[in-house]
Symmetry: C2
């Protein structure tokens, strides 16, 4: 079995790569930094369409799965790059990789609990989805007054919406796609989230006992990438230790 | 490892029992009919509170998981029994079994895509959740004019809502609960759903290519019952070959 993935050098992705290797996959990684222990590394700047196009040409299919895990956290000043890497780059790389996926192949996208409000923000999500490429981001960010926190949330909202929107086309290609929405995971970028989302993050973590571990999210990604989940299509899977359930029960008086 | 489950004799549950056995679990089954290949069968009428209370006394913990899979399909005339088995019996058995679960133990509830509208029907869902027991169902069904299709949908809506609502309490007990929402699965009761929900079922099946297979739903249940999913808490997991995604993309113009 062969897996292609982005964002394999650090955080959740590094553990996904390890777990895939342990299950016998050959792992091909697109990343700006060199990941450890993968079979092939294709250095790729996921914010640069030309780099993505070149990178995909360097790998041969077929792959049983494509795991789109690369993503930037909410960081001030990175508004455009966040939208370019987390959403536009993910879409471009996926489109180029689809013909290299084996029949029955799975795409798994790392979204986020921060994207949970995608239905409420659908007009802006659709506007992002309609952009021609990252060159249009500067005008879009200015016009829509998107700060770095909103850029992050919007990028993940769009990942969830794009996942849904590809379901029918991928069924016709004998492929499938799902997304994973983790919250508050103890990786190198947890501080960015605490800074961006404030006290709420600490409160949610306290309520469920601790932050998630990258291993836990990796287990879900590996499940969705493998054949034991092949009837699961077009769904977003929350993994947050119960944070989302607690928020809903509070809100709904359950 | 030891698993307790309801509804192990037929359909999805029979395959869950097989898969658990293949993974080395000892399987204890509560069912009105005798399941094949389980380690202990406790004959249980899940519509009868006294029978449930007796059944739970017959088994000793600890169990690593409790899988609440027993359920009746939408069948005319069974309004009260559907609500009694699919929801009230599930809750009663779970409450009695929680003290027999091992630390870190998982509860998995079989809900249904038919329960997806639980938020829209929350007033009625809460009214069902507030009933004292099946003896109150006759008045409830009459007063709320609940037919058999509504009884089925409501029972599954309540399973999803109850799952969410137990999350915080179960975290404090070092336990967790999730639900699974399959749609149109090729088991002995698929005809009931086609009769109850009409053409829509056939249309949805055609669009995603075929009905789901019980094995596919069983794989998800086994994943949620096991340790690879232990950070997933209080979530409903749709497994429908993409039906829900297609309905949403149609509705939202994605």
């Amino acid at each position: 079995m062969r897996a292609a993935m982005t964002g394999a050098a650090t955080g959740i992705g590094a553990i996904v790569a390890q777990k895939l290797k342990a299950r016998g996959y050959e792992v091909v990684a697109f990343d700006i930094a060199e990941p450890e222990g993968v079979d092939q590394w294709v250095q790729t700047d996921m914010s640069d369409p030309a780099a993505i196009a070149r990178a995909v040409l360097e790998v041969d299919g077929p792959f049983e799965c494509l795991i789109n895990n690369a993503g930037l956290p909410p960081r001030d000043g990175l508004e455009e790059t966040i939208l370019a890497v987390n959403y536009l780059g993910l879409v471009q790389l996926s489109e180029a990789m689809l013909p290299k996926l084996a029949p029955g192949g799975a795409v798994v996208n790392t979204a986020s609990r921060a994207g949970a409000m995608w239905r409420d923000n659908l007009v802006q999500v659709k506007a992002l989805m309609a952009l021609s490429g990252p060159e249009a981001l500067s005008g879009f960010v200015a016009e829509q007054q998107i700060d770095y926190v909103r850029a992050y949330n919007l990028s993940k909202e769009a990942v969830i919406a794009w996942t849904l929107a590809q379901t029918e086309r991928l069924i016709a290609m004998d492929l499938r796609v799902n997304s994973v929405s983790p919250a508050a995971v103890s990786t190198g970028i947890l501080e960015d989230f605490t800074a961006a989302f404030g006290e709420r993050v600490a409160k949610n973590i306290a309520r469920v006992g601790r932050p998630g571990r990258p291993e836990e999210v990796a287990d879900l990604i590996v499940f969705l990438a493998g054949s034991d989940s092949h009837w699961i299509r077009g769904c977003d899977h929350v993994i947050d230790g119960g944070m989302s359930a607690l928020a809903q029960t509070d809100q709904l008086g359950l």
